[in-house]
Symmetry: C2
DNA sequence: CATTCAAGCCTAGTGTTGCTAGGTATAGCT
DNA sequence: AGCTATACCTAGCAACACTAGGCTTGAATG
């Protein structure tokens, strides 16, 4: 629900890369996937997702192509590049390291 | 070591409140405590800590006083206010919720 | 005593980034 | 024709950790 909006900073890229994973998803589907897979913890606005996807594509971690589905309008679908897959692995480790550090600090008994 | 500096955003306040806890610490000591208690994960620069302490005091979560130790120069020591203690409790829960959400997303098997 | 160094505090400015608030276009349904 | 959901986009904003400096004081070193 009301997740303090600053918390996500620095972790959104990992979330996006992990959400796409081995699939090829378009922006709207990514937003829905994040909402459902996070158990409702995260409900990210389009103004967060789209610029981030462009950033990741520019950085070479994602590649996009336009797809015309049988029904509905055209969509831009994103998939990980090789660099993106490698980056995801690193970011997963980075997250574990970061979360472990925070856990140590928050759990520390004076 | 080289923790991507954006990751901490939105979590620093919780770290500071938890690090001070029931003690009364000054800035330098807080930096050292964070470094040691986090197992070296975090080594935060002064330019991060001091403005954050001021912010938290202005927000009423910390109270400071100047202390003259037996040896050495005067220090500004910080302690939690009642509001600060309450906020720490909330932020611990907020962190668990946030970290749980990220875990779900990063661990999700496509 | 002079000097050097560490302890200790501070702040102006920067860069990144997620979000707000708007906009556009298309397909399906009534 | 009009409405709604899907789907995409972007300019500007606000927050915040960090960089890169500066200042002061006490202790140690020669």
């Amino acid at each position: 629900m009301g997740m303090s909006s600053e918390m996500l900073k620095g972790h959104l890229d990992a979330v996006l890369l992990a959400t796409i994973g081995d699939a090829a998803l378009h922006g709207y589907a990514i937003i829905e996937a994040i909402r459902t897979r996070s158990g409702g913890h995260f409900d990210l606005p389009e103004g967060t997702i789209y610029p981030a996807l462009h950033r990741l594509e520019l950085a070479g971690l994602l590649a996009s192509r336009w797809v015309q589905p049988e029904s509905g309008r055209k969509r831009r679908v994103y998939a990980l590049t090789d660099t993106g897959r490698q980056s995801l692995t690193e970011r997963r480790a980075g997250w574990r390291s970061f979360a472990g550090g925070i856990d140590m600090l928050l759990d520390a008994r004076a």
